[in-house]
C-alpha cells in the first residue's frame, strides 16, 4: 500500500516536471481584474491580447503548442497567488502575467520567485516591484508610479505650474503616487499647497474640490484612478474649478478619457507609455483591437501583447523554457515592437520611453478616439528610477 502510494506520487511528480520542461504545451497564465473597477483598461480583452500574441507567434514555440490560461483575481492578492500556485504546481505553468493592481502583483512576484517562473507585471503601478521587492524573475513592463510622477509632474512644474494641490485616493497606490509626484514637484522648484485624502470609491468629490479651490493652488493633481478619477474630474468641471486650476491625472487611461467625454477631460495632462495613434504599427494593432471590441486598446492591453510575444521570442532564442535561461535572454535582448523600444534592466524594470499627452478639445479631435496630442517624450533613463537610486540588490552586483 505504502509502496503504491509512493510510486503514484512519484509518477505525478514526474508528470508535473515533464509538462514544465518537456514536450507538453508551453503554458502562459494571465491573471487580472476581469470584472471590477479595472476591467475595462485590461480585463478579458487583456487576456485576449496574450492569446493573440501566441497565435501570431504561430501557436507553437520549440515545437510545443502554446496554451494561454486566464483568471480573475477580483483585486485580491490571496486569490491571485492561490490561482498562480495552482497553475504552477498542477499544470506546469511556464510563465505568469499579472495585469492590473499592485497588491496582487507583489504577491505573485513573491510566488514566482519561490517557484522560479518568469513573472511579467503589466498594469501594476507600484515601483516596489523592481525596487525594494525586486526579484530575479520579475519583469515590470509598462509603467510605474515613479515614471508617471516624473513624466507628468516635471513637465507641468517647468511649464509654470508651481503650486500644487493633491487629491489622493487613501490607500497604498494613491499614497505612493502622491509622494513620488511631490518629490518631483519640490525637486523642480515647486511647492505643495495641500493634500486631501479621500476614501476609495468616494461617493462625492465636491467637498474635497472646494478645499482644493480654497488652497489657491495652480495645479489640481489627481492621485487616484478609475471611477474616482472620472467623478473627481466631472465635479471639478461642474464647480468651475478647472477655470482657475490646471488638472493633471497621475494615472489615467484612454478608457477613462473616453468615458468622461472630451467636454469634461479637455486640457488634462496625462503620462502614459503608449497611445494607439502614435505610429502605423500601433494604428494597425489598434484597428484589429477595435474591430473586435469596438473601442481602442489601452497602453496596458498593448503591453500585454508585447510582453507575451517578447517572452516567446526569448524562449525561442534560449531554446528552453528554463526560467533562469529565459530571464537572462530577456535581459540581454533588445525589445523593439509597436508597443515600445527598450531593454529589461537587471532589476527587471523594462526601460523604455514614456510620453506626456494632453487631451484634445472637442474641436481638435477629428476622428473617434482621437483624444491625445503628445507634448513631451521622455527617454526611459530619465523616466524610471535610476540604477543609482534603486534599492534593488540585483543592480548592485
Amino acid at each position: 500500500m505504502k509502496l503504491k502510494t509512493l510510486i503514484a506520487s512519484m509518477a505525478v511528480g514526474f508528470a508535473a516536471a515533464a509538462s514544465a520542461q518537456g514536450t507538453g504545451p508551453v503554458k502562459i497564465g494571465f491573471i487580472t481584474d476581469m470584472s471590477s473597477v479595472y476591467a475595462d483598461l485590461d480585463g478579458p480583452a487583456g487576456g485576449e491580447m496574450v492569446k493573440w500574441a501566441a497565435q501570431d507567434f504561430g501557436g507553437k514555440v520549440l515545437n510545443r503548442p502554446i496554451e494561454v490560461v486566464t483568471a480573475d483575481h477580483q483585486n485580491k492578492a490571496d486569490i491571485a497567488s492561490a490561482k498562480a500556485r495552482e497553475w504552477i504546481d498542477k499544470d506546469g505553468l511556464s510563465m505568469l502575467i499579472g495585469g492590473t493592481n499592485s497588491g496582487t502583483s507583489l504577491a505573485m512576484a513573491k510566488l514566482a520567485e519561490e517557484k522560479k517562473r518568469p513573472f511579467f507585471s503589466i498594469g501594476a503601478g507600484s515601483a516596489r516591484l523592481t525596487n525594494e521587492a525586486c526579484s530575479p524573475y520579475t519583469v515590470h513592463y509598462a509603467y510605474d508610479t515613479v515614471a508617471l510622477a516624473k513624466v507628468g509632474a516635471a513637465a507641468l512644474v517647468k511649464a509654470g505650474g508651481k503650486n500644487w494641490f493633491f487629491l489622493t485616493a487613501d490607500y497604498a497606490f494613491g499614497h505612493s503616487l502622491e509622494s513620488d509626484a511631490s518629490t518631483i514637484v519640490k525637486a523642480n522648484g515647486g511647492t505643495v499647497a495641500g493634500t486631501v485624502r479621500h476614501p476609495l470609491n468616494a461617493s462625492d468629490f465636491s467637498s474635497f474640490l472646494l478645499q482644493a479651490q480654497s488652497s489657491k493652488a495652480q495645479v489640481l493633481a489627481l492621485a487616484n484612478a478609475g471611477g474616482d478619477f472620472s467623478n473627481a474630474m466631472k465635479s471639478a468641471k461642474e464647480f468651475g474649478i478647472l477655470k482657475t486650476m490646471k488638472p493633471i491625472g497621475l494615472l489615467v487611461f484612454i478608457t477613462d478619457v473616453h468615458s468622461l467625454g472630451l467636454s469634461n477631460a479637455e486640457g488634462l495632462q496625462v503620462a502614459d507609455s503608449w497611445y494607439w495613434n502614435q505610429d502605423d504599427a500601433s494604428r494597425k494593432f489598434a484597428k484589429r483591437f477595435f474591430d473586435k471590441y469596438k473601442r481602442m486598446p489601452t497602453s496596458v492591453q498593448a503591453a500585454d501583447y508585447s510582453a507575451a510575444s517578447n517572452y516567446l521570442k526569448a524562449v525561442q532564442t534560449a531554446g528552453t523554457t528554463d526560467a533562469d535561461k529565459v530571464m537572462s535572454t530577456l535581459k540581454s535582448m533588445q525589445i523593439d515592437d509597436f508597443y515600445n523600444k527598450g531593454q529589461i534592466r537587471a532589476d527587471g524594470r523594462m526601460i523604455h520611453d514614456m510620453y506626456l499627452y494632453q487631451v484634445k478639445s472637442a474641436k481638435e479631435s477629428t476622428t473617434p478616439w482621437d483624444y491625445y496630442k503628445m507634448i513631451a517624450k521622455v527617454p526611459g533613463e530619465q523616466a524610471f528610477t535610476s540604477a543609482a537610486d534603486s534599492k534593488c540588490a540585483l543592480l548592485k552586483k
Binding site: 479595472y38 483598461l41 476614501p199 472646494l210 461642474e238 467625454g261
Partner: protein, 294 residues
C-alpha cells in the same frame, strides 16, 4: 470669523454640499423605509434600482434622444414597472416567511442586474451632461453653487415631503398603513390589499430610479454606482429607525451634513463616519432615532 479653524464662508459652503448629498440619502432611504414599512422586505435591490434609473436615463438620451426632463418622468415609470414585475414574480411568495429570504432574493437580483450592465457597458461609466437649462452656477457669496445641485435638493425634498404626506396624512396612506397591520381585516372592507402592496413596491422602485436620474449628471453612470451607495443608505435607515418615513428623511439630510463636515475635518474618515454614528445610535436607541421601541 472662523468655525473650528476653518473660515466661516468655507464652512457654510461645506454645510450646503452636505445637504445636497443628504438629499440623495433621504430620497433613497425613504424608498427603503416605505418598502420595509409596508411590505416587511429588506430591499437589497434598492442600489441596483437606483443604478437602473441612471442607466435608463442615459440609454433614453443616447439611443432615443429622450431628454433629461422626459427621462425624469419616464425612467422612474420604467423602473417602477420593473418593480411591479419583481413583486408579482418573486416577492409576493415571501411575505409569510422569514424576512431573510426577501433580503437574499433582492440581494441576488441586485447582483444579476449589476452583472448584466457590467457585461454590456463595462465599468468605466458613461457620461451624462447636465441639462442646458440647469447648467451654470450661482454665486451665493460664500461659494459658487452649480444650479444643478440646487435643483437636486429642491426636487428630492419636495418628493420626500410629498411621499410623507401621502402615507401619513391621506386616506390612501391610511389604507396602506392599516393593510400592514392587519391585511385580512382591510381586505374585508373591500380594499384590494395585494394590489396596494404591489404598487407600493413599484413606487419604492420608482423613487430609487428617480434618485438615479438625479445623480446621472453629477457622477459617471456606472453599473457599480448602486452598490457603492446602498450600504450607507442602509445605515441611514437603521439610524433613522426601520420603517419610519419622516425619520429616514431627517436622518438622510442630517447624515449628509455630518459626512460633509467630516470631509473637511478628517477626510479619511468620511466613508465610515455614518457607521460610527450607527453603532452609537444602536447602543443607545436600538430601534433607531425615530423608530418605535418594540
Amino acid at each position: 470669523m472662523e468655525i473650528f479653524g476653518i473660515p466661516h464662508q468655507a464652512f457654510l459652503g461645506q454645510l450646503l454640499l452636505g445637504l445636497v448629498n443628504g438629499a440623495f440619502y433621504a430620497l433613497l432611504s425613504l424608498g427603503l423605509a416605505v418598502i420595509f414599512g409596508l411590505l416587511g422586505i429588506v430591499n437589497f435591490a434598492h442600489g441596483a434600482l437606483y443604478m437602473l434609473g441612471a442607466f435608463a436615463a442615459w440609454i433614453m438620451l443616447d439611443k432615443f434622444g429622450i431628454n433629461y426632463w422626459m427621462a425624469l418622468l419616464l425612467a422612474p415609470l420604467t423602473v417602477g414597472a420593473l418593480g411591479v414585475v419583481i413583486e408579482r414574480l418573486f416577492l409576493k411568495h415571501l411575505y409569510k416567511i422569514d424576512p431573510i429570504y426577501g433580503l437574499l432574493l433582492t440581494f441576488g437580483l441586485a447582483l444579476i442586474a449589476e452583472g448584466i450592465f457590467r457585461e454590456m457597458y463595462g465599468v468605466s461609466g458613461q457620461n451624462y451632461d447636465v441639462p442646458e437649462l440647469l447648467s451654470g452656477a450661482t454665486n451665493l457669496g460664500f461659494m459658487v453653487l452649480p444650479n444643478y445641485r440646487a435643483w437636486v435638493v429642491g426636487v428630492s425634498l419636495s418628493v420626500c415631503l410629498g411621499t410623507w404626506y401621502l402615507i401619513e396624512r391621506t386616506r390612501l396612506g391610511a389604507y396602506l398603513r392599516a393593510g400592514t397591520e392587519n391585511a385580512a381585516l382591510v381586505q374585508a372592507f373591500g380594499i384590494n390589499v395585494p394590489l396596494m402592496v404591489m404598487l407600493t413596491y413599484g413606487a419604492g422602485a420608482a423613487l430609487a430610479a428617480l434618485a438615479g436620474v438625479l445623480a446621472a449628471p453629477i457622477i459617471q453612470v456606472n453599473p457599480l454606482m448602486g452598490s457603492n451607495l446602498i450600504i450607507v443608505v442602509f445605515a441611514v435607515v437603521v439610524i433613522g429607525g426601520m420603517g419610519s418615513i419622516m425619520g429616514s428623511i431627517l436622518t438622510g439630510l442630517g447624515l449628509g451634513v455630518i459626512e460633509g463636515l467630516t470631509r473637511v475635518f478628517y477626510p479619511e474618515a468620511s466613508s465610515i463616519v455614518v457607521f460610527i454614528i450607527m453603532v452609537i445610535v444602536l447602543m443607545i436607541r436600538p430601534a433607531g432615532l425615530f423608530g418605535k421601541e418594540a
